[in-house]
Symmetry: C2
Subunit: 194 residues, 2 copies
Amino acid sequence: MEGQRKGSFNVMEGSEANGKRWCGSVVRTCDLVLRLLAFLLTLVAAVVIGADKQTAVVPIKLVESMPPLYVPVAAKWHYLSAFVYFVGANAMACTYATLSLLLSLGKRRKWMETVITVLDTLMVALLFSSNGAAIAVGLLGLQGNSHVHWNKVCNMFGKFCDQVAASLFISLLGSITFLLLLLLPQLFRLKQTT
Amino acid sequence: MEGQRKGSFNVMEGSEANGKRWCGSVVRTCDLVLRLLAFLLTLVAAVVIGADKQTAVVPIKLVESMPPLYVPVAAKWHYLSAFVYFVGANAMACTYATLSLLLSLGKRRKWMETVITVLDTLMVALLFSSNGAAIAVGLLGLQGNSHVHWNKVCNMFGKFCDQVAASLFISLLGSITFLLLLLLPQLFRLKQTT
């Protein structure tokens, strides 16, 4: 009787240990895939906006009674500080994603995992704040604001704005990837407790 | 000899268990204090910008050759979508901080802790993105941007801008508090492994 009970305990413990090991390996694989994805997305986002430049011929009125002068005007990402912060944040996140991916490929010690989780959290804060800043300024460029007399500029620099929008979308995906890196172990823990 | 060894093991295990229990209670106390702080900071940030309003008499030129007309113009937070998002995000974070504080005061189950950590992470993303958006637009109001011909407005609405800056600073502290809520268990884990 005693032996039977011990035997059934061992089978249950064994299957529980197997389940935990399986969960651990799934989390580890997802972690590596997400880091690779985060690296690619933040890299592409920084490159797409970094290479963004457009020159358009814009009518400028010097005197009200005279016809406007047509002057070539260039639009560059570094004219707006929100975009500079956006590029810097994506470049930092991209560098960090590379380093953390390389570290994750090797044997991960407990303190190293903790340091990586802390840095992942800081990257989420950095990326989301830079996305918020760039999207806010991008929307002003697209729609303008009549209350503060800020005219929209995207009607003159359509290609430039399209490229900014693409970069913002890609970076948002990169930020969500970093968010998933934080949420993944929590979601698996939730699955285990239910 | 055997009894002595067992005794010393028991003493070590006991002190380790005591240390873990002490660490756990410190983390729990810090968690409650941080949640209370997050509630207060996000509440004050939302109220300070929500109550922000200023009317200034601004010169407006209708015809170049005529003297300007002096017109009273109002500045309100909901004129800019970035500030609307900022107030919404702070209000949501404030409500969540209250609910999570009440839940944390009771007995915390494992699944509940996981859900709270997931929601804390989402709050960090939400608050940092809203801070980024509001700071970017606030800086444009303060400095303007000559490249896109967006004039600064803070020279005319000084009190309004000061109140926005105060709210942004308080909300930034609130966001850092939510960030600390995520980092706190990690930092204690790091202390335990070193």
